[in-house]
Symmetry: C2
Subunit: 362 residues, 2 copies
Amino acid sequence: MRLEILPVLGIGHVTEGDDLAAVIATAAPWLRDGDVLVVTSKIVSKAEGRLVDVPADGPERLVAREEVLAGETARVVASRGPTRIVQTHHGFVMASAGIDASNVDKTRLVLLPVDPDASARELRAALRDRYDLDVAVIISDTMGRPWRNGLTDVALGVAGMPAIRDHRGEVDPYGNELQLTQMAVVDELAGAGELIKGKCDQVPVAVVRGYLAATRTDDSDGARTLIRDAAQDLFSLGTAEARAAGLAEAATLAEAVGPEPADPAAVRRALDAVAEVVTPGTVFTLVDEAEVRAGLVAEVPGWPADASALVLGTAPAPLDPMDLVRFGADLHRLRVALAAEGVRSTLLPPPAGSPASAALAL
Amino acid sequence: MRLEILPVLGIGHVTEGDDLAAVIATAAPWLRDGDVLVVTSKIVSKAEGRLVDVPADGPERLVAREEVLAGETARVVASRGPTRIVQTHHGFVMASAGIDASNVDKTRLVLLPVDPDASARELRAALRDRYDLDVAVIISDTMGRPWRNGLTDVALGVAGMPAIRDHRGEVDPYGNELQLTQMAVVDELAGAGELIKGKCDQVPVAVVRGYLAATRTDDSDGARTLIRDAAQDLFSLGTAEARAAGLAEAATLAEAVGPEPADPAAVRRALDAVAEVVTPGTVFTLVDEAEVRAGLVAEVPGWPADASALVLGTAPAPLDPMDLVRFGADLHRLRVALAAEGVRSTLLPPPAGSPASAALAL
C-alpha cells in the first residue's frame, strides 16, 4: 500500500469562463478513478469570475481593498495593526477573508469561490459526465492558524468523499476506546497536495492517488462540516477583542439579579478580588438567603422578587460627600467582580435602620 | 516528479528502552537517502520512558490525571467543562498537554517527549551512523485547532530539514511579490504521513519519498520555530478567559494617568459608551489640556503632575447620600469605559468652587 502525490503540469493562466474540467482533463490525461484532485481555490475563483477591479496602488487601492474586505466579512474576529482576521460568509476564519492579490493582475483582487463545496461538486460532476472519471475534488487554500507559525493548505470545499474520517468507537489493541479521533483528512490531503505544488512553479492542481478506492459513493457532507460554530469555539474572538468586550460589559453592567440563587463561594471570591483595591475601612457583609428570607430585606426599597442574597456595604466613617462617591465606585468594582463570577447584582439603598451605606441585591 | 507516502509495517509494541533506529531500519530495509520519516510521537515517548502510572479507573484516576496534566502545563489557555487547552513547557498549545491514554495499558498515561527536536536529531543521527541512511525525521502528533472541526497531525520535532519553506521575496508571473508565504511544510508532511498511518492499523511510522533531494545539509532550526510566542499571538487566551480578564481588570482598575496625553476623541467615545447607563441627569464635562494648563485644576487636591485633561462630573440634584453612591458607581463605569479606550484616569474631589460632584484626572 502506498499513496502518490502527483503534480498536474501544463495548466496555464486560467481566466473567467474557462472550463476547468477540460483544462484539467487535458493537462492530466493520466487521471484515474479514485484519484483525489487538490485544486487551488484561486483557479476556481478565476474561472468563476470572482475578481474585482481595484487601483494598482496608492491610497485608493487601500480604500478599495477595505471595501472589498467588508463585503466578504461576516464578522471581525481579531485585528492588530493592518491585520484583519475575519469570519467569511461561508464561515471560514481567515486573514483578509482569503482575498488575494498574488498570481493576478495588479489591478484585480481574487475572492474566494462563493460556494466551494458546490464548485467541487460541479467539477467532479463534469469530470464524471464528460470524461468518465470518478474522482474526488478538494478545493484548497492557504491559511494561517493560532499558536503555530507558518501556513498550511486546507480544504475549502470537497466532493466525492467525506471531509472527516471518524475513528470514534474503535478500540485499540490495549482495549481503550478511541476518543478525539475525528481526523480532518481533507485538510491533510490539501496539505499533501501543497507539498508538490509548492515544489513546482505555477502548479495549481495536485493529485493524491491511492487514498480512495476506485469505487465510491457520491456522498459528501462537504467541507462545511469542518466549520465550527462560533458559539462552540473556545477561540471565537481575539484575545484583545474579548478583553475589550469584558471591559465594555463592566462599563455598561445592567442592574439585574437571578434567576439562579447566588453561589456564596462565588460571592466570596468576588469580595476577595476587590479587597485590596477598595478604600481601606470599607466593609462588605454577605447576608445569606436564610437571613434574607427571615425578613431582613423587608425594609430595602426596591428589593427584587427573585433576589437570593444581599451584600451590605459600609463606607469608612466619617462620611463626607467624596467618601460616598468613592464608596459608590467601590461598589461598582464589587458588582463587576461578581459579574466575573457569573453573579448578577443590583445597587440598592441600605435597609432602614442599618448602619450600611448601600446594599447589593444578588 | 512525484511524492510517495509509504507505511512502515511490522513495528510491534514499543516499550521503554527500545532502540527506535533499529526497530525502524529492520521494519523498513527499503529506506533510502532523502526519505522523510514521519514518526508518531507516542512510540518516541514510549521508547524514552515518558509514561506515568495511574489508577485504571475511578475518581483516583481523574485526580492522578489532573496532577499529571498540571505537571505538563506551563499555562492554561482555555477551559470549558472538562476540556483544558494548555500551553506545554515546550510551547505547544494542545488539549490536555498532549497526554494520551490510547494505545497504552489502562494503568499508564503517555506524555509528550521532553524535547521532540532532540528526539528527531537523535533518531536521524542513529540511522546515519549505524545504518548509513541520510533521512529527515519528523516527530508527529495529532492536534485540534480553533475554528475548524476535526484533527490533523502536525510536527512536534524535526531534524534534517527546515520546518518552514519560505517563499517571501519571490515574484509571481504577474510581478507581485509573494507575501504571507512561509509554509509550515513539516506540518503538511506530518499530515501526509497520517493519511497512510490512519488507513492502516497500528502503523506508527510513515515515509514521504521524493520531497527532499538525497543530499542535504544537517541544518534544521527544529519544529520549535513553529511555536508562536504568546505575546505575538492574537489568540493567546480563550475568549471566555480574555473576557474574564477584562472584567477583572475593570474590578481592580488602578488609579493612574498618562504617560501619553488623553486623546479627546477616545474620551468622547467613552462618554458615549456610558451615556445610556448612567443615572439620568448626570453630566460629564471634558475639560481639555489648554484649560487645564490655564489653571483650572490648581484647586483640585491631589492633581497628578502628568495629567493632561479633566472630566468634571455632576450628579443630578437634589443630592442625598444614595445619589452620591450611585454617582460614584457611574464614575467607575466611565473610568472602565476610558480604560477600554486606553485612557487611564484617577478619581479626585472636584475643584474648589466648582458645581461638580467629583472629577477624573486623565
